[in-house]
Each structure stands twice: as C-alpha cells, then as structure tokens.
Symmetry: D2
Subunit: 411 residues, 4 copies
C-alpha cells in the first residue's frame, strides 16, 4: 500500500519567502570565496532550493511600471546558496542535474521588464531611449500568457538565469582586475560597461564576523555578467532536464543559483519571464575534471524536453548599422545581432517585450566573411495565435498589447 511512510519528499535545503521579509536567510548577492556554505549535500542526493526573483520581490503583479523604473539594482541578483557538495575539490568537475524548475504554487506569475536607460538599460536602451515598462505573465502549467501581450502563448523552457560555483580568491582577483581596466577605459559610459565591487547593497543572509562581511562587500564580484564559473549566462537551454559540468574552484564547490526564468529566448536583451520559484538538483563529482575536459567554462547537455516549435521565420542581421547611421562595423557579431532583432521588431511592428520573453533562437551564421558578421534570429510560428507569414496582402497590424507603464505616463 502507498503510505506516508514509504513516500518521502525530497528535502528543501534552502527555503525562502518569495515575498521577501526582513533579513532573509540563505540569500547573497555577490560572488566571493569567503561566503560560507549555508547547506551541504551529498553527491547523488536529490534536493530543492527555493529562490526569490532576481530583484527580491521588488516587482508586483499589477499594471503600473514604477517598480521597474525605481528598481534598486545594487541589491541584485538575489542568489540562493551557497550549497556545498561533499568531496568536491578545486580542479574537479561538478556535475549538476537541473531536474526541475517551477514557480511557487502561491505565486503563479512572472514578469518581463524593460528598464529605464538610466536605471538598468538593456540592449536597445539607447536606441529606444528606454522608459520603464513591464508585462505580467500568467504561468499556467507549461504555458505562459500575458494580459499585456495578447495573441501569444508559449511553453516555457524554465531555467536558472544565474548559476555558478564560487570563485577562488585568485579567480576573483582576475575578474576584478580585468573588469576594472575595462571600466577605466570607458569612464563615463551610460549605461556603464561593467560594474565594480559595490559595498552598498551587498548582502549575505548568514551570521558572519563583521570583517568577513566587510571583505565580501568590498571585494565581491557583482553578479551581472557570466564568467568562467557560469554565473549570469542567461542561456535558455540550461533548462530543466539539462546536465551541467561546472569547474570547481574552492572546496565544496559552493553552488549558488537564482534569477529563475520561466522562459527566455536567445535574444534576452532585456529580460526573460522572471519568476521566483523552486529548483531541484542532483549532483555528482568527476575528479580532476577541469584538466580532463579543458574546462575553461561550464559545458552542458541540453534537456530532451525542449519545446518543439519547428516552423520558424528567420531574420538576418549584418554588422552594418542600417537601422541607424549606416556605419560599417568590422565583423562585429553584436552589431549584427542587434540588426537582426531590429528587423524582427520592425516586421512585427513593435514586439520588443515579446522578443524578450519568447523562445526565439539567435544563431551566429558566420564570423568569417569580412567585414560583415551575420547573425540570424528565428521566430517560432507556433507561439502566435495568428499567421505571421509574409503574404501579398501584407501583415495585419496586430495589437501586441499595452504593457504596464509608469505612473507619470511617460512611454
């Protein structure tokens, strides 16, 4: 007979409140080797980690975007962890199975935000002189749909936007040095080219000696970019069902995770569907894996459960700013990527928010045919309720919704 006794739930090793009360335990928002593990697991054990959304509940399920406009970015990203894995040593490869990623049952929604040019920015912040706006998505089982973006429904490829092992002191020093040099070289850029350690807003939800806390705040790497340990890579295919191989830099590996996404495309220029939620893990260790696999960065096996939208409409972009001043760039894939996105946005007559959330794919076609890098962006047809293919009669102007806007009415 099925009984409570023979039915044991997997343990949740870090519990958080997605509505975030004072001094939450188990969270931190900087990368530093001295942040102690808040939980320890054995290889082979299945365990769950709860995560707040990346902003720490700053964004609400409503139709006003002032929360986006005023978001406090010194506090991001809220990461759950670190979780130590018994037996992991520097030089090992930590195998991490991402078994599941789900929203909280009590919080079945997420959001996509576009940030103000002066506070958060984003890939097109300058082009569009970005003003805060957001779309709220209802997470209904495998699907997301939004009252702010009607006519669209798609299956999520849920994944952690941010996951990584803790850096060693040496690796941290390397990061701070190279990023510091970049910042120095672009002193007054808006938005900034990178973010140095910032004691303001630094947080570790554990009891710590004051000098340790101060050291972490002083030196801890910001969580914004992805780096050699993983970090904020925003890779949509690092989704539930995938197996990841992380380099280990300190004893225990100290895995941290956060910034869960219900869905995201390759074109994450401003977001994803951000959510709070629960991630389920299982780990194992390959001794000496860093050398065995020439592991400069994580590698991974995508999940077999990627949603399948086989029919796609594909846009191209080259490294010429033909949506801007027509300037010719030299094999610059980032420029080509922007043009491909702008082509799609023009085609769909302003689907900026949609492209941030939908499972679109962006491929690097070629970075060899000087001087034009070529990047493509593929829009799955199956996520639209209407037919978006080219037709002699042209495209019908569709209302992809009015996103939630700022209370001062600025758009």
């Amino acid at each position: 007979m099925a009984t409570k006794e023979n039915s044991v739930a997997y343990p949740t090793v870090i519990q958080v409140d997605p509505f975030l009360t004072d001094d939450p335990q188990g969270l931190h928002n900087r990368w530093h080797p001295d942040i102690p593990a808040i939980a320890t697991v054995k290889p082979g054990q299945v365990f769950k980690v709860e995560c707040v959304d990346w902003t720490g509940a700053q964004i609400g399920n409503n139709d006003n975007s002032d929360d986006i406009k005023n978001v406090d970015l010194t506090k991001v990203h809220n990461l759950s962890g670190p979780v130590a894995v018994e037996g992991a040593e520097p030089g090992d490869c930590l195998v991490v199975d991402i078994l599941d990623v789900t929203p909280f049952e009590k919080m079945p929604w997420g959001y996509t935000g576009i940030f103000e040019l002066e506070n958060g920015g984003g890939l097109f912040a300058r082009e569009f002189n970005s003003r805060a706006c957001k779309a709220i998505w209802d997470l209904q089982g495998v699907y997301a749909s939004s009252r702010h973006i009607p006519g669209v429904r798609f299956a999520g490829v849920s994944h952690p936007g941010l996951i990584g092992t803790a850096p060693s002191a040496d690796l941290l020093a390397t990061w701070n040095k190279r990023e510091g040099e970049l910042i120095a070289a672009h002193a007054n850029a808006v938005p900034p080219v990178a973010f140095p350690p910032e004691p303001r807003g630094a947080y570790v939800g554990q009891d710590l000696p004051e000098h340790v806390r101060a050291k972490i705040a002083q030196e801890g790497a910001r969580t914004i970019p992805g780096r050699e340990h993983g970090g904020n890579c925003d890779i949509k295919n690092l989704s539930k069902g995938s197996r990841c191989y992380f380099p280990v830099f300190i004893p225990g590996a100290n895995l941290s995770v956060g910034d869960l996404h219900f869905s995201q495309g390759d074109m994450s220029f401003c977001g994803a569907i951000e959510m709070a939620g629960i991630i389920t893990f299982k780990t194992s260790i390959i001794k000496g894996g860093v050398e065995k696999f020439a592991l400069k960065q994580p590698i991974f096996l995508p999940s077999p459960v990627d949603p399948m939208y086989s029919a796609k409409l594909v846009f191209e972009g080259i490294s010429v700013d033909y949506h801007g001043d027509g300037k010719q760039y030299n094999m610059d894939a980032s420029v080509a990527y922007k043009q491909a996105a702008l082509n799609a946005i023009a085609y769909l007559m302003k689907a900026y928010l949609l492209l941030s959330a939908a499972p679109i794919e962006s491929h690097v076609g070629a970075i060899v045919d000087s001087p034009n890098a070529c990047v493509t962006l593929a829009l799955p047809l199956g996520i639209f309720e209407h037919d978006i293919l080219p037709k002699p009669e042209g495209l019908e102007k569709k209302d992809f919704g009015q996103c939630a806007i700022r209370s001062d009415g600025v758009v």
Copy 2:
C-alpha cells in the same frame, strides 16, 4: 502508361562545367547592376542552375594542400547568374524556393579548407598562424564522411553559401562607401578588414561592350561579405526546402547563386564542405514587399528537412579572451564566439577542421549582461561514431585524422 512524352525534366537554365574550362559562360564574380541577366524565368516555373565550386575548380580530390595554399582569391566567388524573374520590380519581394541542392553525379566529393594566414585567413588565422590544409569529403547520398577525419559521419544540410539579388547603383555606392571607410580606418590589417572593388580577376562570362565590362570590374562589389541583398551569408538553415524572401533592387531582380555547401555549421570560421553542384529553384513575387515586410535584408522560412540530432554537448564562451591574454572585451559577441569555439577545440583535442564542416549550432545566449556577451556552441553527439560525453576516465585521445597538407611539410 509512363512515357517520355508525359515525363518532362525541369530545364537547366545555366549549365556549367564543374571542371571549368576556359571562358565559362553564365558565371560572374562581382555584384553589379549592369551585369545582364543570362537567363529569364517566369514566376512559378521550376528551374535548375548549375554551379562550380566557389574557387572555380582550383581545389582537387587528393592529399596535398598546395592548391589551398596557392588559391587565387581574386577570382572568387564564382556565381551562376544572374537569372531575371519576369515582372520583378524594385521594391518587390522576390520569393525564392530552394527546392534542392545536390552535387554533380560525376563529382561526388567536396572539401573543407583552412587557408594560409597570408592568403585567405579565417576566424582563427592569427591564433593558430594558419597553414594551408584541407579535408576531402565523400558525399554519399545524404551523408558526408572523410578519409581525413575518421570517426565522423553526418547528414548534410545542403545550401547555397552565397545567394542574392543584384544591387541597384545606389545600393552599390553605399556599400563601396561604407566599406571603403572601414578599410581606410584599418589600413594595414592582416588579414584585411574588407576588400574594395578589384579589377584584377573580375569576370563576367558574357559578351559585353568593353566599357560595361570595365565599369563592372571597376565598381563591382566583392562577393565576400553578406549584405542587404543576401550575398555570402553562409547560413546553414538556408538549405534545400527553405523559402526565402529577397528585396528586389533592379528590374528582374537578377538572382545569382554559388558557393554551394554540402554541409556547414554555424561555426563556419573557415569553410564548410564546399562543392560544385546543382540547385533547383522556384520563384514568385510579392509586389511592394520591401515596404510591407520592412525588408532590410532577406528573411526566410527554414526547411522542414533539417537533419535532427537532438542530443548535443554545449560549450560556452564569454567576451574575455581567456584562451589568449585574458583581456576583457565589452559585450563583444565575436570574442565570445571565438572562446566557445576554442573551448570545443580544446575539449576535442584539435577538431578544427571538423567544426568547419559539421552541423554544429552557435547561439547568442545573451548580449545584455555587461560586460560579458555569452555565446554557446552545440556539438551534435550523433555525428560521432564514439561517445564524446564527459566521463570519469576522461576523453580518449581520438585521431580525427591527418588533413591533407602542404608539399613543403609545413603544418
């Protein structure tokens, strides 16, 4: 009864000799509005176009790479065309169905080449101080395999590497201006950042008044980069079965095509499986399509017959040159793309040639998390005859072959 009379083959509107004899008709190697159409088709008509390989038969099926080393690049790319489509006018959208792409029955092989740093280069020409080498592929039905790269077999995604409509005089002038400025800004770069019009080697396989020929040679845009009309985009998904939508710039549209590939990945840093062959087309016209679809560049619907290798091993790269001097770049997707490729090359212990030919995928993960762009490269597991997954015992050192090399023994 089935009879010859009720069984009519599709017409071949351009015939070429893949072993290229003197003064071949129907080829040209510059983009210029004044190159007359060599054939005219009606919308709806199925027709075939034969193509020599991009170099014009300069490369042989043998085990010596001197032909690669000494390749004459002023002559490339050999394009078949132009083919005019009745009724196409500037501002229209030319719909092109790529119905089939096959090698010649009498020439069932192709090649992947790595070019000398000083003659052709390639994405990693500098990193590896590239010396000429090549791999010959046997094209066996849907599959390619190579005596130079044992242990690998994969299904081709055959496509034209180079396809485009003719530019108008205005568009050509824009190209020459913007690329000229780039060249001027990087005067002595090796390899060059771009290629200005070059009368030497310019070719049009038609009878032409001398002043027209001279004008084309003087002004004609080189075929190396992709541009607004398509061109050398090297997009693997523009494969047989796909439907493409090209902007039309001159009456008749004047479609040209060449540089057929039996297979190529997103990571085409140096090649593809190059081949001569036959491409089958059908066209139609959407009047005024450029404006209707905001068509700054071609868009396309990928084919439903893409080979399916669902299991993949994925490598990441960020915009830090950690395979080189460790320099931090600012959101540079091209740097990230290189790192991802170098990670895969290190993992496979030198699979440089393989990555140029195999159907790998490269996605732009994110260009938003300053300062690190993140690019992934996915290696399909199904193309290998052995298991390449990470294992505790590490990877077996596999011999991916000895490519064909220069006669002076330099590697």
Copy 3:
C-alpha cells in the same frame, strides 16, 4: 512589489488524499450520466484536480509485489470528478487544455506493474504466464529512474491515462449492449474479453439517494476501455501541454479524470509509470462542435513539450506469430504489434517491464499488403546509459534489474 495579495494560486476544485482514507470524496469508478458534478467551473478558468493512483493506493513503494498480485480490480479506476463546465450542452465540443500533470510533492514515486494472468492480465499475460511483479520509479523532476531497472533514465511525458466526458443514457446503453454481445460470444475467455457493469466495488464519493447509487452501480460502464467519450485511451501524447476536443453528451459535459501516468510508451501492454498527482486544466466550449468536426471521438493537439529522443532503433512485426506457433493471421495489426514487441524483448534479453514504462513509439506501418499487417516499435536510444546498437561483438547481456516479486517467490 510582489505580495501575497497580488499572487493568487489556482484553485484546486477536487482534493484527495493519495494515501486514500475511508470514503474519499470526489472519486468515482464507473461512467454514468447520473453521477452529479462535484464541482463546477467556468470556461476560461484555470483549476486543479487531484487524483489518487488508478488503484486507489493499493500499491506500495517497496520491493514486494504481493500488492500487485492481490490487487482488487473491481475498484478501478479511481476517477476524480465529475467537473461540470458552465454552458456546455450536448452536441458541443469541450476544449480541454491539459496545462500540467505532476506527482504530489509528498509522493515523488510511481510504479509499473505486471499483473497475474488470473488477476489483471495484460498483452502478454498468456504468452509469459504472467506472475505479479513491479518496478518502483523515483520521479526526480522531469526524469524517472528505477532501482529495479538500472541503466535507464528518461524524461516523462506525463498525462492522464483516463479522461472523458460523461456519456448520455443512450450512449451508455449502446456501450452496454455491444460489449454485452462480445462477452456473450466469448463466454469463458481468460482474461475476459470485456467487463460488464459490476455493482460489486462500484463507488461514488458523494451523498446520493440510494436508488441513484444503485442505478449507477447497476448500469455504470466499467472504466477499462476507451470509448467515444475518451476514457481509458492510454495515449501518451495526451500529455501536459496538449489541447483536447471532447464531444459533450450531457449538460455540463461532466469531465472526469484519473489514472495519471508519469510516462508511458505506445506499447502500454501492461502499465505505464502509474502515479497519484495533480492535473491542471483550462476549458472552453465550441458550440455545436460535434457536428462541425464530425466528432465521433476526441481529437487533440499534442503538446510542444514532448521529450525529444531523435535516435531510435526500430523493430518490425508482421501478422504471423513467429514467436509462437508460426500461424498466419489475416492483416491483424494486434498480432503484428505483439511480434514487434517480442522482437524488442528478445533483442534486449527481457526488458518487458522497461517497455511498459519507457517512451517508445509504435507505428502502424501498413495494413494493406495482404495478408501481413506490419507494425513497428521504436526504442529511443537516449534513454539508455549504454550503447544498445547492433555491433559485431553482439550485445552485452545487461542486467535490467530484478523487479519486485511475490512473497511466495513465484516468478
């Protein structure tokens, strides 16, 4: 800000205890139009329904199969419902989105059982003189793995094995008549060819007048076969993310659901991975849909999130019992289907339990080439940890585990 107030969970309209205590509310185990709706929902509303496993907790997470041997099949299937949909009328089409199907967090396991020839049977009950055995599966996020079947792990295609609308009195009468005639024609078959209404074990978890309860018990159709309303179709592709179109036979449609499967293949000759769990629905109504769509049975759109295991090894079977007495059957797809399964079982050296649970596919190749129907069975290679392809050295004899067995040791 994210708050509890702006974060509302979807309502659970039927709650059950998967460990099943006395007189559970919201369950029933017969099909009858007079079973009143226990809950009512509006079109467009997202709601959840909890389900016990099909046997009603008779099977335990342990290594002994006496529970399978002695299972009381008069009580099956335990269905949750009926749920009425406001506005649905006979002749309408009820559109049901299966948004999610998950196990209970407190019960993260399922089982595959093989039943005794005399109590439950199964496709090969006679061939193998079936003795009770079972495998327990740990449900770890998207994956299932089993201590009883080592070397295998696969992603589930979770779905309800049994879902349907309530029959009208007329339809119920048709069922009872035609099945009664079949039973009469095969009076002493073991296992029986069909199951007539059976008052013993009949159950409706609601307060009902005694004569209504008696009528339901007396006339109610057993839940074993699929019929025109859906029912026990065991279609693996009716999975989370799919959209189903049911004919409506009585006002409110009265949808019931149960027999949740974590995974199942086309070859469900004895099971699936059975589980208790929670299903999330959304409904809408198409007026007059039965006539509009010639709806003799449900039709459905499969989910885009089907796990993708593209590489497969395929077995054939024809309608000749070459695993038995060699008898030639006339275009009998059921015989062909058995032979294909027996070929796979022989190839894998006894993977009977595995084939009941794994996401294999069985296609009808042809039922036209007299006298042999041809059926194929495709085994996804990606679910195995080792290589099962044909090789010159033959297949290694793998231990696919010792399933849980009867306490008297009979195998």
Copy 4:
C-alpha cells in the same frame, strides 16, 4: 585542381528504363532462392540501383485513371536485383545503408492510386466500393505537390516500399504453407486474403535454364506482403539515411529492392507517392548477426533527415465500427486504425487520396484495455496551406481536388 580523373561517380550496378521496354534486364517479381544474383558488390562499396515503379510503367502522367482500373497485378512488384554481397552467409546480418533515394531526372513525377475493389482493393475498398482514381504529384526537389490535390505541399520521406533479402528454400516453403492455409480458410474472400504462387506474370529478367525459370514461377512467393526477410513493409521511416539490419538466408544475401516511394504516411491503405527512381546503397556484414540480435525480422535505425512537422492534429479510433454497424471488436487494432482514418477523412471532408500520400503518423495507443484497442492518426499541420484546426466557425469546406478518374465517369 578538380578534374574528371579525381572525381569518380558511384557505379550503377543495375540500370533500367523507367519507361520499360521489352524484356528488361535486372528485374524480377517473385521471391525465390534460385534467382541468381545479377550483380555482386563488396562490403563497403557505394553503389546505385535503378528501379522502375512498382507496376512497371503501367501508370501515366495524365488525368485519366483507366490505367489504374486495368492495372495488371500479376506482374507486380517489379524488383531490381538480386544484388549479392561478397562474404554474406546464412545466419549473418546484412547491414544496408540506404544513402539516397531519388526520382529519375527525366521523370520528376509520381502518383497515388486508389484501386478498384475488384482489382487491387485497399484498406477501405469495401467501405467505399472503391473505383479507380489517381493523383499525379510533381516532385520538385524535396517537395511534392499535385494538381489533383491543391492546397497541400510536403517534403518527401523517400524510401523503398519493398526491400528484402532472398529467402532460403526452407523459409520459402514455410511462407507458402502458412499462407496457403490462410487462403484455404477464406476461400472466396474479395479482395483475397493472400496470394499464392502464380506462374502467370512471373518474370525474371535473366537468361535462365527453362526448368529453373519454371520452378521460380511455380514456387516463388508473391511480393505483396512483408515477411521475415523484409519485403513489402511500406515503412515510411526506412527512408534515405536509414541503416537497416537484414537477416541473411542464402549465400550472398541477394538483396532486391523496388516499389520506391517519394513519400508515404503510416496510413498507407492504398498507396504512397509511387515513383521510378534510383537508390544508393552501402553494405556491410555482421557475422552470425541473426543469433546475436535475435533477428526474426529486419531492424533499423531511422534517418536523421526525417522532415519535421511538429504541430499535429490527432484523431483516435477504437475497435468499434462506429462508422459502420457499431459492432464491438475484441482488441482489434486493425479496426481501430480504420476508425481513426475514417475520423480524419470525415473531419477533412474526403481527403482519402491525401492520407495515402502525406507523411501522417499512426500510433498504436494501447492494446491492453479490453475490449477496445486504441489507435491514433496524426496529421501534420505544416503540410496544409490553410489552417485546419478546430474553430468556432467550423471548418471551411476545402476542395482537395478532383483526382484523375475513369474514362467511363464512374466515381
């Protein structure tokens, strides 16, 4: 340089005329061990075999179906071969790579036929009192489209409908015995349940001693059904790119092939897109493979280049003849398969011919839930030019064309 000398075409070991003149060499139309090999190949060698269409050019590219009505079926199927493989011995496994399958360039069309009840029949011959009709398909690269079935275009999954090794004398005797018994048991069935050896029409396109020819004609098994050696299995996934493992029954294996299909679905109740064409093979041998792999019938690995139409509309059928007299059958998958097909035909308002040719899938859902077997039929949405999903306004009545019909006007 590329030269004719270093570019060698693969040899065509059997050449035929698709317009079939008198006494064609290299064809035969019965299975018999005494038919000598007409060509011999070495393991590892790539070679081509030309095939006439299955009827031997009896059907023409025109709009009249008398050729279907009067087709001489004693002459079918026209098979090319046998081809012996050096070193193959009884008990071995012959590995056959189907590298390519293409139509003749001079004959770029195929046909789908529905046969007269009295001459050929088909799955629904009786239900629909079948009268001869046909659709002609233009084969345009990867696609097929038909002037007789407008609004539909799909990519072919080209494959041999009929491929097999030669039977041994023992195996042949087994076939003749068991099929003879079936015929005896259904003496006057229309269409017949099976076809005994038939000297009339028997053909071997080789010089043979008369007594050998007579023996083959007298004993040779008809080619209609699939059997243990492969044969007429009509499996759409045995397509170009697949690898097949055949049991070997006589020295040399003696592989024969024919009945090429440009496309076919699982629901091949009457056809496929039949064509003449060229098939490219490569073979190898696994010694003793029959025992190693428990090889009662061929097994195979499907091609990675299956066209991908992920969105599908699925119909169900159970083993109740609800389209006929409502009779309840006992777990009969063939009945369920018919109902699923009839549901689809009713939904599409008569798409009988289309279903014979399109790449639909038919899965066996379950043959366990007595008394109803459940079979599904999945229609890929991507093959239609219009939207066929259920909608509140119902389906628009589409004209799927008028197939070619008999000259006497009978439909």
